[in-house]
Structures are given as structure tokens and as C-alpha cells.
């Protein structure tokens, strides 16, 4: 059966793409953010994932309000990135893993999640930029992906509790997949930020740090919040935390924290990074 090696949760602000394109990783503004990633890449070199199951929210690239799924699972052979309106260079398409996608879809529907199935899906900065942070250089991505999107554009949003259960079901699906693949779980977005309204620029550092701590050892604590509680505590767009909660729900085994980083601000956002290892997953044999 497939093995879940661990989980990476990271922010995905569009401006990161501009900074990468302009080579600003060492600028004083950006350095505290980009310095968070080399230890993650060292960990990836050790655990060697083949495929990433990624929870994130689409920001109006792939989905519009005409048809907006609460949860959608990609089942495409390849996922293109595209122009989102800001002139950020488009990144290379990333390969899918349709066999795993359909296994996850079958499991989720059997678990009574009424998801949308997508054989075509464009990925926006919420997936392309985390990939660019984890595997920089602009070459071919050394990983396949299964994208799982969660609505946070239009209320009513799913709840943190439902997001957790979605993650649990995906985690069970991966572990029952007849494959020797090594699977990474990704959750992207957050942490606290707000773009709209007179409260634009709202950031809540104590809440973010509480969440990052809870996600390691007591994640279900976060399922007591409603979506509107998250708006209040983490800002209108801080609801992206639900992708982290889903990712944590998918992470099995005895979990230890490998690495974390937290830096305010990147653009309007409190940028978080958290890497968890499944201690019950064996490391790959040295080549």
C-alpha cells in the first residue's frame, strides 16, 4: 500500500511568484520568508515523495461563480498554470496521477462526500507557488499531484470540522491505494490576512501561532471553530487555514514537527510554514 511520508503546510501569496521571477529571494523584505524553505527541501530529499495530494483554494482561475464546487478533486493527466491577471510568469504544467485521483474520488464518495470530479483543471498560485518554493529552478516538476480544491470564495464555506473529515477520508484513501508510491500531503494558504473592507490588513499573530502549535499535537481543537469564527479571528481570507486543517486530517501516524517558520508580513499576509513527518513511515532505502 502507498505510504504517506508527511505533510507540508505553507502560505501561497501571489507576490511570491513576482519575487521568484525577479530573483529577490535575498532582499531584506523577502529573506526571512525564503530562508524558511531550504530545510524543507533537505527533508524532501530524505523522504523522497513520488506524488503530492494537495489541498488548496482556487482564487477565480479555474472556477467562477457560475459553477462553484465546495470540494473538487482533480483527475487530469496534467494541470496547467495560467495567467491570473497580474503578469506573474506562468509556471510549467505539473503531471497528475489519475490512478490515485480516482481511488481518492471513489473513497470520498463512498464516505458520503459529494465532490466534483474534474478531468480538466487549471492550477493557480495556490498550488504552483508552493511547488516553486519546494522544487525551485523552473525545471520539470519531480512530482505528480492530485489537487483537491475547497471553496473559500463564496459563503457559505465548508466548516473546519468538515475540512478535517475530508482530510481524514483522503488519508484513508491514500493508505488503501495499492501502490508502492510515497505520498506527500500539501496544505496551502493562510495564515491570517484580510484583503477587503475597512479591516483590510488585519493580522492576528497570537491566533496564527496557536493554530501552528495545535496543528502538531492537538489539531482537532481547531475543528471547534466555524468558518465565520475563522473570518473573525484570522481575517476574511484567513479561512484558507481550512486547507491546513484538511491536510492535517489526512496525515496518519505518530507525527513530529520537522520544521516551521512564521513571518509577517508578506504582502498583506502572515506567512506560515509547517512540516510534519509521519514517524511510522519508513524512510526509503539509500540508492
Amino acid at each position: 500500500m502507498a505510504t504517506i511520508v508527511g505533510t507540508i503546510m505553507t502560505s501561497h501569496v501571489p507576490a511570491i511568484g513576482g519575487a521568484i521571477a525577479k530573483g529577490r529571494q535575498s532582499d531584506p523584505y523577502w529573506k526571512p520568508f525564503f530562508d524558511g524553505y531550504p530545510p524543507v527541501r533537505a527533508w524532501l530529499d530524505r523522504v523522497k515523495p513520488d506524488v503530492a495530494v494537495a489541498f488548496f483554494q482556487d482564487h477565480g482561475l479555474n472556477f467562477f461563480l457560475d459553477k462553484l464546487p465546495t470540494f473538487a478533486v482533480g483527475a487530469a493527466p496534467e494541470y496547467p498554470n495560467a495567467d491570473e491577471g497580474w503578469g506573474i510568469p506562468t509556471l510549467k504544467p505539473v503531471k497528475g496521477d489519475p490512478a490515485l485521483s480516482w481511488h481518492i474520488i471513489n473513497t470520498l464518495v463512498a464516505d458520503e462526500f459529494d465532490i466534483t470530479m474534474c478531468q480538466q483543471m487549471q492550477i493557480d498560485h495556490a498550488l504552483s507557488l508552493p511547488l516553486a518554493l519546494l522544487w525551485p529552478g523552473g525545471g520539470d516538476w519531480p512530482i505528480r499531484v492530485v489537487p483537491i480544491t475547497m471553496n473559500h470564495v463564496q459563503h457559505p464555506l465548508p466548516s473546519p470540522k468538515r475540512s478535517w473529515k475530508l482530510g481524514e477520508s483522503v488519508g484513508r484513501a491514500v493508505q488503501s491505494w495499492d501502490s508502492d508510491a510515497r505520498v506527500l500531503v500539501l496544505g496551502t494558504g493562510g495564515l491570517s490576512h484580510q484583503l477587503d473592507g475597512e479591516r483590510a490588513g488585519f493580522i492576528n499573530k497570537p491566533f496564527d501561532l496557536m493554530c501552528m502549535d495545535a496543528l502538531v499535537n492537538d489539531p482537532q481543537k481547531l475543528t471547534r471553530y466555524s468558518a465565520l469564527d475563522l473570518v473573525r479571528e484570522a481575517g476574511a481570507q484567513g479561512t484558507e487555514l481550512m486547507a491546513w486543517i484538511a491536510a492535517r486530517g489526512a496525515t496518519p501516524g505518530r507525527v513530529t514537527k520537522v520544521h516551521s517558520n512564521y513571518h509577517v508580513p508578506i504582502s498583506n499576509t502572515a506567512a506560515g510554514l509547517l512540516v510534519l513527518q509521519n514517524e511510522d513511515a519508513a524512510l526509503p532505502k539509500a540508492a
Binding site: 482564487h59 461563480l65 459563503h155 477587503d196 483590510a200 465565520l228 476574511a236 508580513p265 502572515a270
Partner: protein, 117 residues
């Protein structure tokens, strides 16, 4: 503040609910089209014709003409689509935040830095 009818009790925070989504559909459809560079150019070439094509309400048309984020949100605009409209003018989310809070961009950025201390 927001375009919805219900008060969610979170100060300074519009909630894009079903009422707002209905009110804002044409405006958001136009802003969604700005994912395409070709459409952004068409808007810049003839703003009136482009807005007419999407059937904007007079309130939405005026908010677009005024480049005013609060008016756009009151007219049903969703921030994720509005961000693509702002992108046409090279404005980022800090410009958008500064406009809504009545601050200079520098003061808005300083507020964000302060929030991290």
C-alpha cells in the same frame, strides 16, 4: 460595506454571501474575464464597450469608472475577482488595502510590519 443584506457582526469585514453573489454576478463575470491578457487589453481599448458587453448595473459601472474598491464591493464585487481588475492598473493588494482604509500605501505597509511584532 458589503453587498449582502445580513449583518454577520464582524466589523469592517464584508461577507460575500448569496445576496452579494447575486448582486455582483455581472461585475464579477467581467473581472473574471481579466484572467486573459487579451481581455485586459480590450477593456483598456474601450472601457464603455467592454462594460456594456457584461451588462453592468449603473452602480457597478460607476464603481468601475471611479476605480473605488469600497464602491465595487458594495456593488457586489468579490475581492478575488476585483484583484484582477486592480491588476490592469498595476495595483497590488496593498494599494487596494490602503485605499479601503484611507491610509497611504506606506502607512498601510507599516501597519502590516507592526502586526508582526
Amino acid at each position: 460595506m458589503g453587498a449582502g443584506k445580513k449583518d454577520y457582526g464582524i466589523p469592517g469585514t464584508p461577507i460575500f454571501d448569496g445576496d452579494a453573489a447575486q448582486k455582483g454576478y455581472a461585475l464579477n463575470a467581467m473581472c473574471y474575464s481579466f484572467n486573459s491578457a487579451e481581455n485586459r487589453e480590450a477593456f483598456k481599448r474601450d472601457e464603455d464597450a467592454y462594460c456594456a458587453k457584461f451588462g453592468l448595473s449603473p452602480e457597478q459601472r460607476a464603481a468601475i469608472a471611479n476605480r473605488n474598491v469600497q464602491q465595487l464591493i458594495a456593488a457586489g464585487g468579490n475581492i478575488y475577482y476585483l484583484a484582477k481588475f486592480a491588476g490592469i492598473f498595476g495595483l497590488d493588494v496593498q494599494d487596494v488595502g490602503a485605499q479601503q482604509t484611507g491610509m497611504t500605501k506606506e502607512a498601510f505597509k507599516a501597519k502590516l510590519v507592526e502586526a508582526g511584532r
